[in-house]
């Protein structure tokens, strides 16, 4: 059913299956032994320990602040910020639409600037402050841009919406919301296939003209 959600990290073991590797990883001293002892290394190769070693050395420690919460994470260097947010931190408000920086659905703020999180490796975000759509509202009080999107129906299916809203907030902060044309231009990195563009522009204009802090 829809409500079934547990926050176990993907890949965490539900049962005993494949536990040998996990146990191995915990025994970091053994890793050192493998590196130093040729005999052990040969044996380890036969046991596919190379894979197990890879599991450790593939990971990098990073620290980043996401929506005001400090996180210490262990990530693969090739993992994108997008996938780390969605798969490790369960912040699924940031959407995956193309993985190529072409659609804008994954837009987040990194140190206040809008970026495509699918084109940002997690390791590049180390030490940075990330704001995702989940961090925009103040508790129950929606951000003015979220309110404006609701009021102007700036979406249909809602999938591009988090990216649109993060981009829209940045668009005003950057000073690129001074006319309808300028808004359209600076919001063109965020595709909306349902076609809510005019409503999105209206929402941004209202927030801009309202002069609220964004």
């Amino acid at each position: 059913m829809e409500d079934e959600r547990d926050h176990a990290l993907p890949g965490s073991e539900p049962e005993a299956k494949d536990n040998s590797r996990r146990n191995f990883l915990k025994q970091s001293t053994l890793l050192t032994a493998i590196a130093l002892t040729p005999g052990t290394a040969v044996k380890a190769a036969e046991m596919h320990v190379d894979e197990k070693i890879a599991a450790v050395f593939e990971k990098m420690p990073i620290k980043m602040e996401v929506n005001g919460v400090a996180h210490s994470l262990s990530v693969e260097p090739r993992a994108t910020l997008l996938d780390i947010l969605r798969e490790q931190l369960d912040l699924t408000g940031t959407k995956k639409g193309c993985d190529h920086g072409q659609c804008g659905a994954c837009t987040v703020h990194v140190d206040g600037h809008r970026v495509n999180s699918c084109l940002t490796l997690g390791v590049m975000a180390s030490g940075k402050k990330i704001t995702t759509i989940e961090g925009l509202a103040k508790g129950d009080e929606l951000h003015p841009m979220q309110e404006a999107f609701l009021k102007h129906d700036g979406f249909q299916c809602g999938y591009c919406t988090p990216g649109q809203i993060m981009s829209a907030v940045a668009c005003i902060r950057e000073g690129h919301a001074n006319s309808e044309m300028e808004i359209r231009e600076y919001m063109s990195g965020n595709i909306c296939r349902c076609g809510a563009y005019p409503n999105i522009v209206n929402a941004i204009q209202e927030v801009k003209e309202g002069g609220q802090a964004v």
Binding site: C103, Q146, C157, R193, Y197
Partner: protein, 711 residues
């Protein structure tokens, strides 16, 4: 800002709390990634999965060599393999199209699965392939159904004093919803399955999976509460869903599988490339004499996809002689599928372009020409329309765009260095009503819960249903909860064919009406118009009161022809030197019965119009026919409209109830929002430039250099 209720699920969508198919994490979940064929036709000679299997974190690699047998794929012993049928994943070593899944790799992280997938190497025996419709048109065949029809005299248009014959082409287009197709498959027991998947119909998906895996329907739970757009791409069970279900069983863990954006071009259908020819003739005063509409659409080698693009020519205008010829050309590409305005969007581009061409030949205003041939009864069946106010829609739209500013002489107006033109084009689509059920529960605290298994791919179904329920029950919308997107809920069809409000809305209307009546009976003495439901429950010591009803249309379909209508008015600016086309203004009018939810209805029309502008100006799947692969399989190369392409769009509604379709008087509008738009834009481009573009999309290369021609 339009009046009307804001979306009931809007807050979840603007805060990122709405969870789509790939956004659940059942315990122990792992990741599947597909490997696609790099050839277009032939067979797999060798497939080497050893490196992938040895890669870190990999749990399983499944190919045709080790795939468990899928019960629903098997042919009864002694019977021949059917010549055509749904594509069967990992069934044999045959390659039928480029990008066809040849393996699924399962690993404990997405990154590891993706990397390991790159290590799967296949060698093929390639056969010659055919991916170009124009080179294969001669081999086209008539599909089953009514593609070839005749009313009156065949080719009567040829006898008309004013006539023309032209060819029109639409390329293949892909739905490209922003959400990638995705599934999480979890086996709860040996024969019990739960999936979270992107679908326009949880129960149809449940039934589809039940058929493929030969499981009892009741053993399958399908969840799809939020769907990030679909436009027709999520109306069937696709191979990637089968792959995830197979993989989950093989590794005994839940498997999440997302398609990549490139896969979205090959693996979940598309609008088929279609060649059309229209012969049309009229009397000198503009009465249609005859239409001959011929079409050849693309399909795959393993399935016949018949979307009937020629239907528009039979039912749009009063014309005594109409004949149609429709054929399919089988190509080595995955099967096409329904895409917003299926059939009609393709057909209307040809018909509404041809009508515009005829209007210039006749020197009659395009609206006047349409009014001269206005069908007051369905020309095809002879039945009266259940309702039709298209004439009012023409007037509303013409006023909205300032049609009187249009110069009937093409290429005669320039402003600030841009050529200015006006065009219009209309759409029609059957107004359907299917069978659906709804459960309405009034709780002790006065909350109303409505439950039905419908999906919402974006139009705002929940919002419309709550509006209907609030109206019948006299309860404020914020006291109503709408449950959907769950296959265990009461019967609902897939969201498609613009039928959801008419179908599910009717069930909700009936459930609420019956529930209210139950309360009236408790009150006695004829009840009251505004019962205090919670008080009555308390008074009778009832924890709740509920009804479940099933609702469908009756015999009205025998008496009337049901259609929704639209007309789009466009003002374009065309840059003479570069050939760039800008849509300057768009006014879209829908005659789709009563408008249930004005705010979301407006968005639906605007969204469809934008889809139509994309179809007109930029969307085109490009295949390199030497290799048979799609070369623009991403958003940088396959252009869809972005914000800078789109002006403010006016959506207008006739908003008169259809007295026969359902209790709300509401007809569908999802398809008509797009149908006819491509022709409206093409017609405006002709008015601006004098250049008639008959092959979409109208990209600058088709218009470039007009400044030199004009000087």
């Amino acid at each position: 800002m339009t009046k009307g209720m804001s979306r009931i699920d809007g807050r979840l969508k603007v805060t990122g709390a709405a969870r789509y198919s790939a956004e659940f994490t059942p315990a122990g979940m792992v990741y599947g990634v597909l490997v696609g064929s790099t050839i277009t036709k032939g067979s797999i000679r060798l497939i080497d999965t050893k490196a992938a299997e040895r890669a870190p974190g990999v749990l399983k690699v499944i190919t045709w060599l080790n795939s468990p047998k899928i019960a629903g794929y098997q042919v009864e012993h002694g019977k021949p393999e059917p010549a055509k049928g749904t594509y069967k994943l990992f069934y044999n070593n045959k390659i039928l199209f480029n990008g066809q899944p040849i393996a699924v790799v399962v690993a404990d992280s997405f990154e590891r699965a993706l990397f390991a997938a790159s290590l799967v190497k296949a060698q093929y025996n390639a056969d010659p392939h055919h991916t170009n419709l124009r080179d294969n048109a001669a081999k086209a065949f008539a599909p089953e159904g009514d593609g070839t029809t005749k009313r009156g005299t065949e080719d009567a248009w040829k006898t008309a004093p004013v006539k023309l014959e032209q060819e029109y082409i639409i390329p293949s287009e892909v739905h490209s919803p922003m959400e990638l197709h995705a599934i999480i498959a979890k086996w709860d027991a040996e024969d019990k399955l739960t999936v979270w998947t992107k679908t326009q119909g949880v129960q149809d998906t449940r039934d589809g999976i039940a058929g493929i895996f030969k499981l009892p329907k009741e053993n399958i739970q399908v969840n799809s509460k939020f769907v990030g757009g679909a436009f027709g791409s999520a109306l069937q069970v696709w191979p990637h869903e089968v792959a995830a279900i197979l993989a989950a069983k093989a590794v005994k863990r839940p498997v999440k599988l997302l398609l990549g954006r490139a896969d979205m071009f090959t693996s979940v259908g598309y609008r088929p490339y279609t060649w059309q020819k229209i012969g049309i003739g009229a009397t000198a005063d503009g009465k249609l004499v005859g239409i001959t509409h011929e079409a050849i659409g693309q399909t795959s080698t393993y399935e016949d996809f018949n979307e009937g693009p020629i239907g528009v020519s039979r039912s749009t205008y009063a014309c005594p002689n109409v004949n149609t010829i429709y054929k399919l050309a089988a190509l080595d590409i995955g099967s096409p599928t329904w895409m917003r305005g299926p059939g009609e969007a393709t057909g209307a581009f040809a018909l509404e372009s041809a009508l515009d061409e005829l209007s210039y030949e006749l020197k009659i205003d395009p609206i006047e020409l349409r009014m001269k041939n206005y069908a007051s009864t369905d020309p095809e069946s002879g039945k009266p329309f259940s309702s039709k106010f298209l004439d009012e829609a023409y007037k509303l739209g013409a006023e909205g765009i300032n049609w009187k500013d249009r110069n009937a002489k093409p290429a005669s107006v320039t402003k600030d260095g841009w050529m200015v033109g006006y065009g219009m084009g209309g759409g029609m689509f059957g107004a359907y009503r299917d069978k659906a059920a709804a459960k309405a529960i009034l709780m002790a605290d006065g909350t109303l819960i409505i439950q039905t298994a419908v999906s919402d791919i974006g139009p705002g179904t929940g919002t419309a249903m709550v509006t209907i329920a609030a109206g019948v029950m006299g309860i404020p919308a914020d006291k109503i909860r709408f449950d959907m997107g769950d296959s265990s809920l009461p019967l609902a069809p897939s969201q498609g064919g613009s039928a959801t409000t008419a179908t599910v809305g009717s069930a909700v209307y009936q459930a609420c009406t019956d529930l209210k009546e139950k309360f009236q009976k408790l009150i006695g003495n004829g009840g009251t118009d505004h019962p205090d439901y919670a008080a009555i429950l308390k008074q009778h010591s009832l924890p709740k009161l509920e009804v479940t009803v099933e609702s469908s249309g009756g015999t009205e379909r025998d008496k009337y022809a049901f259609y929704s209508w639209s007309v789009h008015f466009i003002k374009v600016l065309v840059h003479p030197a570069t050939g760039v086309v800008k849509v300057d203004r768009a006014v879209c009018v829908a005659d789709s019965g009563s408008i249930v939810s004005p705010k979301t209805a407006r968005s639906q029309i605007v969204g469809g119009a934008i889809g139509g502008i994309g179809m007109a100006l930029m969307e085109e799947t490009v295949i390199d026919h030497r290799y048979g692969n799609i070369v623009n399989n991403n958003f940088a190369d396959y252009h869809v409209p972005v914000n800078a392409d789109i002006p403010q769009i006016e959506a207008l509604f006739v908003n008169k109830p259809d007295p026969h379709i359902n209790p709300m008087g509401a007809k569908g509008m999802g398809e008509i929002a797009l149908i006819g738009m491509a022709a409206a834009v093409a017609n405006a481009v002709y008015n601006a430039t004098g250049k008639r573009v008959r092959e979409l999309p109208i990209t600058p290369d088709k218009l470039v250099g007009m400044d030199l021609e004009l000087s």
